[in-house]
Amino acid sequence: MDKRAIVCRCLDITVEDVEKAIEMGYTDFESLRRYLGIGFGPCQGRHCYPIVLRILAEKTGRKLEDLPAPRMRPPIIPIPAYILAAARGEGDGEEG
């Protein structure tokens, strides 16, 4: 793979960035993705997680199936605020 190839299109993270982080000791996917900041883009990692998992498996000599699948957080697709603002109710927030 070309070192400068982009693995995370939302945040411009390259193959080289991923490999460097793994060399620094980020061999646990949960820590690796937070350190790189991948998954914080609009696609929530749908594009980059599989690629990064593959690089991680290769670099650490593990099988892809042995790496845990990351948890996806809601909402599944980004929600524009104007839709949220149209929802009924002000909510009974608690006194801060």
Binding site: M24, P80, A81, G91, G96
Partner: protein
């Protein structure tokens, strides 16, 4: 074979890591950090990363003031070179009523007396501090210029790298399951083998009350769910954390270093709820009250919603220090939503107890667990979200 160390720290959130850092940076190396999953998991990676000294009790004001001094020191030193960065962008507390203004005036008097230069600003000045704020409904605001923010990801990264390069082991995916107190120390059974420590620090966030109850120690802590949402990244337009305590649930907004708007609001909750039981209407409840102050927020896109715990004591002040009747046991938890900001000072307090026998700040003594047992609570009113 048992693994041994003089000091064992249970919990690899900001509190455990900062405590390990503080000990290591003073030359103490015989220690191990155990944590149930990866460093930062728990409340730390879910928090808003706000750091402030604008509180309403002497204990919080003085210790947060010292903590901010340390955040600045950390940024300028080796941790800063490893990427940690405290951005001193302030806090802006909005007031929509005269009554709120009077309450601010009172807390400003106490904060100023204790060396925190907060002040009341009029709507025009508030607008200079946050140009994108709609001040039509604003009566006045409390500005805390010493406050700020720091990315939890960068902070944890810097601490972990520092500990690694100084030979301090962090045993990840190692959950403490059973603690036994012995004459000469503590035997800790974990999901990955048994450990023996002469001194034990319990800094396990929401996991602390259960571990301590095994030693017969009652903390009166409740793990209260708190939610947050995050938007897509935009260019930096809001420097300070802005909070509106006059709206129920005190909604707040802070822009992260990446440019996302992190928004939170307190809603009625049941303690001990699992961190993955999300409320479907939360994103809407959180963002709506802020449209009054930032009408343009209507155009942003929300990417994420999650939940973490406020590990809350009856008086919203932490429990830091030794436990009477339990030799060489130290507790550092119950941060009630303010543990990230206090972590540098909290780490110093525990390191002082372990290495010097006592903390250097008199305010730290009051945070002993004895006050919880006696019901001798510290009264705090400035609680955000």
């Amino acid at each position: 074979m048992e693994k041994r160390a003089e000091v064992g720290i249970i919990g690899g959130g900001i509190i455990g890591l900062a405590t390990a850092y503080e000990l290591a940076s003073r030359g103490f190396r015989d220690l191990v950090v155990l944590t149930a999953s990866f460093p930062g998991d728990g409340s730390t990676f879910r928090c808003a990363s706000g750091i402030r000294a604008s509180f309403t009790t002497r204990e919080h004001i003085v210790l947060m003031r010292e903590s901010i001094r340390k955040w600045i020191e950390w940024t300028r030193g080796e941790l800063g070179r490893l990427g940690l960065r405290f951005m001193q962008k302030g806090y802006l507390w909005l007031a929509s009523t005269e009554e709120r203004v009077r309450a601010y005036e009172e807390s400003i008097r106490l904060q100023n007396k204790l060396g925190v230069p907060t002040r009341l600003v009029d709507p025009d000045e508030a607008k200079r501090i946050v140009p994108v704020l709609d001040t039509r409904h604003l009566v006045a605001a409390l500005h805390d210029p010493t406050a700020g923010k720091a990315s939890p990801f960068k902070t944890v990264h810097a601490l972990v790298m520092y500990l690694k390069s100084h030979g301090i082991p962090i045993h990840t995916y190692t959950r403490a399951e059973k603690i036994e107190e012995r004459e000469e120390g503590f035997r800790v059974e974990t999901s990955r083998g048994t450990y023996f420590f002469e001194k034990l620090v319990v800094a396990a966030g929401a996991g602390s009350p259960r571990l301590l109850s095994q030693l017969g120690i009652e903390t009166m802590i409740k793990n209260i769910p708190r939610h947050a949402i995050l938007t897509e990244h935009y260019k930096p337009v809001i420097g300070p954390l802005v909070v509106d305590p006059d709206t129920p649930g005190a909604p707040y907004i802070i822009q992260t270093g990446h440019g996302g708007f992190y928004i939170g609001r307190k809603i009625p909750e049941t303690p001990e709820t699992e961190p993955y039981s999300l409320k479907i209407d939360y994103p809407s409840l959180a963002i709506k009250p802020l449209l009054k102050w930032f009408p343009w927020l209507i155009n942003v896109t929300v990417l994420r919603h999650w939940m973490g715990h406020y590990v809350t004591t009856p008086d919203h002040h932490p429990i830091i220090g030794p436990v009477p009747g339990h030799r060489n046991l130290y507790v550092s938890t119950g941060y009630s939503g303010h543990g990230y900001m206090l972590s540098p000072a909290a780490a110093e307090i525990i390191a002082d107890y372990i290495l010097e026998g006592k903390p250097k700040w008199t305010e730290a003594y009051r945070l002993n667990i004895m006050r919880i047992w006696r019901g001798d609570y510290i009264h705090e009113t400035a609680i955000v979200g």
